[in-house]
Every structure is written in C-alpha cells, then in structure tokens.
C-alpha cells in the first residue's frame, strides 16, 4: 500500500515536471503558425518600416513607412519619406487594399500583387496580415534542424498560393519563406535576418530581404524598427480616415 502511494506521487510529480523537462507534446503545425504570427506582429501595434529597393546597377531607393496594425486583418501605412511621397497612405482590410494620394480625391483600389513602392516587395508583403488569416498548414516536417511548414492559401484571392516556411525551433520565427504561384512556379524567396528587440520588448527578425527569379538582379530589403504596442479605434482603419492618419503620428 505504501509503495503504491509513493509510485502515485512520483507519477504526479513527473506529470507536473514534464513540460519543464522538455517532455511536452511536440507543437502541431497550426500551433507553430500561431506562435510565428504572435512573434512577428504581436497584437495591435505601430512601427516604422524602411524599404530599400536595390537595382542591378546598385542604384538604391529608400522609403520609410509608418505601419499600423489592428486585430489580425486591418493594416494602415503612411509614407513618411521621401518628401515627394509624404502623406500617401494605404489601407488593407482583409483581402481589399486602397491607396490614398493627397490632392487626388478618394482612395483608389489596388491589388495585392502590385507594389506601391516598386521593387520586389508587393503590396501583400508590405501590408502583410497574420499568416494564419490567409493560410492553413498543409504539412509539417523538419529540415536542417528547423520546422518546415507547408502553407496553403485559404482562398484564391491570396497573393501566393503556397508557402514553404522554415521556422527556428527555439525562437519560433521564420528564417526563410519560399512563395509559389498556383502553377508551382517560385515567385520569390523571403529571408528573415537579424533577430533583435525592435521595440517594446518584441524580439523578432528585424530584416526581411527578398529576391525573385522574376526580377533577376533586383533586391529589396525591409527593416522594421521602433515598434510600440498601440491600439487605435476602428475608425482609423477606414477609407475616409486615410487623409487624417498623419495627425495620429
């Protein structure tokens, strides 16, 4: 009887200690994707993004955007520099995107595969929603000590039909994403680099670099910095507010 009690106590202790000892259940694909989203864009926030387009001859063009995100599917960006683009703003609500140009009137509708800054990044890359909003996990495997997630678009309106995402096991942030069209053609590769605190204690890759077989020799780099957790009302994420977004900076 006494032995039984001791064994039961040991079993209970092991059950409690198991997660700490690393004996927990391995993460599933959807859990990894959810954690990746949380690590890359944790909740409602504002941050600055510097986009550098590098042409084959070495010519560079830089843009600085103020980036606002609310919930999982609302994004507003405001062009801060260069001066010729200052005041332009974009809005993304789910699959829909608009561009506001000062003096022009009402915002005009844009598509995810266009680019408001030129270069290799398209609008879907710049105004990216959480991956979990647009993609579901089709397969989970392991490659070179990293999780390899195969993501399939939930609908045909998403910029890329399929993603192959390599995720670091410890940090649960992506290091590389290959983006494929529905035909299976590789559209672009995103490389995530320089894991560091980009503000408000959020540690994630600060640099996203891309190259594409469709734009040989061209390269685009996006640097994220000055992140702050900030929750703005829903009104800010509407078409009529784009003209006034600059007042909230």
């Amino acid at each position: 009887m006494k032995h039984k009690t001791v064994i039961s106590a040991l079993c209970m202790l092991l059950m409690v200690m198991a997660p700490a000892l690393g004996w927990s259940e391995p993460l599933t694909g959807p859990e990894i994707l959810e954690q990746v989203d949380r690590n890359l864009q944790p909740g409602d926030l504002e941050m600055y993004r510097k986009i550098i387009n590098i042409e084959p001859d070495g010519k560079k063009k830089e843009f600085v955007l103020w980036f606002l995100k609310k919930d999982r599917d609302k994004v507003v960006t405001l062009f801060v520099s260069p001066a010729s683009e200052s005041g332009r703003a974009t809005l993304r609500l789910g699959d829909n995107m608009w561009l506001y140009i000062p003096n022009m009137g009402k915002p005009i509708r844009i598509t995810s595969m266009q680019s408001v800054v030129g270069g290799v990044f398209n609008n879907a890359d710049i105004m990216r929603l959480d991956y979990g909003v647009e993609y579901e996990v089709a397969d989970l495997s392991e490659d070179e000590g990293r999780h390899l997630l195969e993501l399939k678009a939930k609908s045909g309106t998403v910029a890329y039909d399929r993603l192959m995402m390599w995720v670091l096991k410890e940090e649960l942030v992506p290091t590389r994403i290959d983006c494929y069209a529905a035909t299976g053609m590789l559209i672009k590769t995103l490389h995530f680099k320089e894991i560091k605190d980009i503000g408000d204690g959020v540690v994630r890759p600060a640099v996203m670099e891309t190259e594409s077989p469709l734009y040989k020799g061209y390269r685009s780099i996006m640097i994220s910095a000055n992140l702050k957790k900030r929750s703005l009302p829903d009104e800010v994420f509407t078409l009529n507010y784009l003209e006034r977004v600059k007042d909230l900076r």
Partner: protein, 177 residues
C-alpha cells in the same frame, strides 16, 4: 611594431581593411521615426518653353490678332511652394504658400498666394476640428470630379498638384460601435 602599425593605419586610410560583411550591412536607424513638433518642406519647379509660330496660319491670326508675338517667343516659368506645420499637443497649425514667376511675351511678373493656412485640433481619433483656409476634395474622380462643386479645377496633366483651398470651419466626428 611601429612599421606594422603604420601599414595598418595606411591600409585603413585607403579603405583596404574592411569590416566584416555583416557589420553595418543594415542601417537600423530610422531618423524619420522621431516625430518633430515642426516640419518644413517645399517644391521647386522651373520650365522653359520655346514657341515657333507660323504667322501666316489662320490660328495665329485668330489667337494673336491683338498682340502678335512674332515668329517665335520664349516662355519661362518658375514655381516655389513652401509648406510648414507646427504641433503643440493635439493642435497643429499648417501653412502652404504658392509663389509663381512667369516671363512670357505678354507678361513678366510674380504671383504670391496662400494656398492653405489653418489650425487643426485632433483631441481624439474620433473627433477633429479644422478652421482656416484648407483644400477641399469632393468626388472620387482622378482628374475631374463632376460633383466637385467647391473644388478648384485640377490640372489634367498633373492632378496631384496642390490646389488653393477655401476658407472653412469643419468639425469631423466619427464613432463606430
């Protein structure tokens, strides 16, 4: 030791000692992220046009019957737009001035206008109040708005140009629930 140090200094001077590729590859500083209480900006533009005219054409006689310029004429235009804003708390004052110089066969003078000059109060994201001279944009059109009754006419060649505003008081309130 001294020679070695001298060589290193020389190499460094001529840029032959390079830092590791990763160091300094990315510049994480975004100075624009620091919001200043004031901002100034501007746009400068100049344009020269040489006109060669057929004095025997019917159109020449129609257009220039009062003041004929001759077989050719020169036109030079210069434009400067200066903008500035100053923010104190939730109040912001904005100014946009327009200065244009035109030298044609008929005229040679400057025009100076205040396109915008207004104060904007934004105590919350739900409410804002603008008072002063401010541009008005009605309608959704790109170059022309059929319902833009108060809009100044746009230049169809460049609809993104700044336009002179109207004096107004605007209270803008919006709340979603």
């Amino acid at each position: 030791m001294g020679i070695r140090r001298s060589i290193l200094i020389l190499l460094a001077f001529f840029g032959l000692v390079s830092a590791p590729a990763s160091a300094g590859e990315y510049d994480f500083e975004i100075p624009e992220a620091e919001k200043r209480p004031w901002e100034v900006g501007g746009r400068l533009e100049t344009r020269y046009i040489y006109h060669r005219l057929d004095e025997d054409s019917a159109r020449y006689r129609l257009n220039y019957y009062q003041d004929p310029p001759g077989a050719d004429s020169h036109e030079w235009r210069g434009l400067a737009e200066l903008s500035g804003s100053c923010r104190i708390g939730f109040a912001q004052a904005n100014l946009l001035t327009h200065h244009e110089y035109a030298a044609t066969y008929q005229t040679d003078d400057w025009t100076h206008d205040i396109y915008e000059g207004y104060v904007s109060l934004t105590p919350t994201a739900h409410l804002s109040l603008d008072a002063g001279k401010r541009r008005i944009l009605w309608g959704k059109g790109y170059a022309w708005n059929p319902v833009g009754f108060l809009n100044r006419p746009k230049d169809p060649d460049d609809p993104a140009l700044n336009l002179e505003g109207r004096v107004l008081l605007e209270i803008w309130a919006r709340y979603y629930f």
